[in-house]
């Protein structure tokens, strides 16, 4: 990957708040990251850490109300997706940025056949005729490994298995040759063998098509195999970001280290029992004024309760938001 390449996607200081009856939920706080062309960025974090909300807010998929994208910039091809017109955003969604969701069982419309659902973006964005769109849909289904593609265009989602439906979703997301593919836990709802197949498929498609991918997962084991770079999220913030090798070799944030311990076979010895991170994820009823992880952190210092740590550079392309330094097991001097 050329390090100097301009990012296709550049997110700066993103903040998303949900207005609920119980008050405001600060789901995403000052999240910044970028995505280089052709790169695969893994996003990890436990459930509720704001991964989905972050990615959906990029292309305006959050229902508003209750969601309110308060601050930030999402630069895609020189345009800020947060301030552009709804029409511009729609012309980018599904055409230049594709999205795959977690649950393939419910993500397809049950009353339209699969052919129609794949052809919809083709006809809208690429202005293909019905026949051309059908040909392209067949191509796409073959690309994602669905046998007997031409005949299956007329089938409805319920006639496909979960894994096959996820392949259809991938075909839809890739229909218009997007520069960016965002995959939100695309294998979480599938069983293990199917997971491996989908993973293999995406790796293969990436080699063929060369789009940049954001791959959301709560499973670091998956990331190790496919990502170039990893972003770790906790409590609606990015707590560590690093090239994948570096992250596994030299994790900095206590949360990242804890996550790595939950992956069997990573970080030295295989644990007797499955490791879990003790404690509860934070409740985000206010903008963070202290470290969100401190209650569960073995290395918490008085400073962690007073100040929210900013991300600091610790290596080439590696940054972390923490006051503790694993090298010295003391405060980080920066």
């Amino acid at each position: 990957m050329p390090d100097g390449a301009l990012p296709v996607l550049d997110v700066k200081g993103l903040k998303v708040v949900f207005k609920t009856r119980g008050g405001e939920v600060h789901a995403v706080n000052s999240v910044s990251f970028d995505l280089k062309p052709g790169e695969l960025l893994g996003v990890v974090g436990e459930s509720g850490s704001g991964k989905s909300v972050t990615m959906m807010s990029l292309i305006g998929l959050l229902p508003s109300p209750p969601a309110d994208v308060r601050e930030g910039q999402v630069l895609f091809d020189g345009q800020d997706l947060l301030t552009c017109t709804p029409d511009t955003l729609r012309s980018i969604r599904g055409a230049r940025i594709g999205f795959i969701f977690q649950d393939p069982m419910t993500s397809l419309n049950p009353v339209f056949n699969v052919g129609f659902q794949i052809m919809e973006p083709l006809r809208k964005h690429m202005k293909l005729s019905k026949a051309k769109a059908a040909d392209r849909a067949v191509e796409l289904l073959e690309l994602v490994g669905i046998p007997d593609a031409r005949r299956r265009l007329d089938d409805y989602p319920h006639q496909f298995s979960g894994g096959m439906r996820q392949r259809v979703m991938i075909a839809i997301a890739l229909a218009c040759d997007p520069q960016v593919l965002i995959a939100d836990e695309p294998t979480t709802a599938l069983d293990v063998t199917i997971q491996a197949q989908i993973l293999e498929l995406v790796r293969d498609l990436r080699r063929k098509l060369g789009m940049a991918i954001v791959w959301i997962t709560h499973d670091l084991g998956v990331i190790a195999g496919i990502a170039d770079r990893v972003m770790v999220m906790y409590g609606g913030q990015v707590v560590e970001q690093s090239p994948v090798k570096d992250l596994f070799r030299n994790p900095q944030h206590p949360y990242t280290r804890a996550l790595l311990k939950t992956v069997p076979g990573v970080l030295g010895e295989r644990p007797e029992k499955l490791n879990v991170i003790e404690g509860q994820p934070p409740i985000l009823m206010a903008a963070p004024s202290a470290c969100a992880f401190r209650d569960r952190c073995a290395f918490a210092m008085p400073r962690c309760a007073k100040e929210n740590p900013a991300r600091v550079q610790v290596g080439a392309g590696h940054d972390v938001a923490c006051f503790w330094d694993p090298a010295t097991n003391g405060p980080r001097n920066a």
Binding site: S91, F101, T106, S107, P110, P121, Y156, I172
Partner: protein
Amino acid sequence: MFTYTIRRLVLAIPVLLLISLIIFALLKFAPGDPMAQVPMTVPPEVKAKMRAALGADQPLIVQYLLWLKQFFIIEPLHILGTMTGYDLVGNAQRVISWQTRSPVADIIAQRMPQTLTVVGMSYVVGVLIALPIGIVSAYKQYSWFDQIGTFVSMIGFSVPTFFTGVMLILIFSVYLGWFPSIYDTTLVVDSWPHFWLQVRQMVMPVAVLALYNAAQISRFMRASMLDNLQQDYVRTARAKGMTEQVVVLKHVLRNSLIPVVTVIALGVPQIFGGAIITEQVFKVNGLGALLINAIYADDLPMVQTLTFIFAILIVIFNLIADVLYGILDPRIRYD
């Protein structure tokens, strides 16, 4: 789907026979005499002969079979005969109204148009206004439009039609004098002024019933839309870059209509029931009024026939609703 429909139709036969038996038995044990409307001056021997002609002196089971034969064979043949111009039944005994002494089927045929124009029209109008209201209320949930819609539906739903009917008569006929308060069934629409008169006399009864129907159906539509708007496939459609119009009016609406269409189909037999109360309020001389008068006059053949026709319609529209469901929802395979 076809074999399913045939199977259901075949299954409907025993169901209808059972219903017919129950209706027959219930009405037989109700008090009432075919000769009740015959003047006292007619001598008893003549009455006995009239009774025999009607088959009223036969054992119950024979009477039942006779009625079945009249209902299922003679009357349909007669209708067919009038349509084709051939005499198919000769002078076989038809189902005769005790009250008017003329065939029940002829009277029903006379009354049917009134009911269909007024009540049928109100159903169509009700559905046509209910669907858009339901769609918009759901899409703009809790907006002022939705709040007003909820309020109006609650009124339409909970205030009985005889009350809204009388209110409308008071306001628009008595005070404002815009519309006639009594529906003139003898009006023949043969000129523009008569057409205009017909429209004016239909406005209030149609409005009352349409409000009632729309209240129900718009609530259904709204609930169904709300259900579907939260589904994951809606997010997928948006992620594909579809416009809100396509997302709502194609993806969501197509799914939401499935249960609503079946509810609409199930409501159709009520049209023939003639919205009994509204017909009374506006003096519409339709099937509802016919049934009520027949009940008051102990006209058992008429009551029996009307009740049974309603039963048949309910069974048929249940079937239609199921078949529609199967057509609209690809996940449902009956065969």
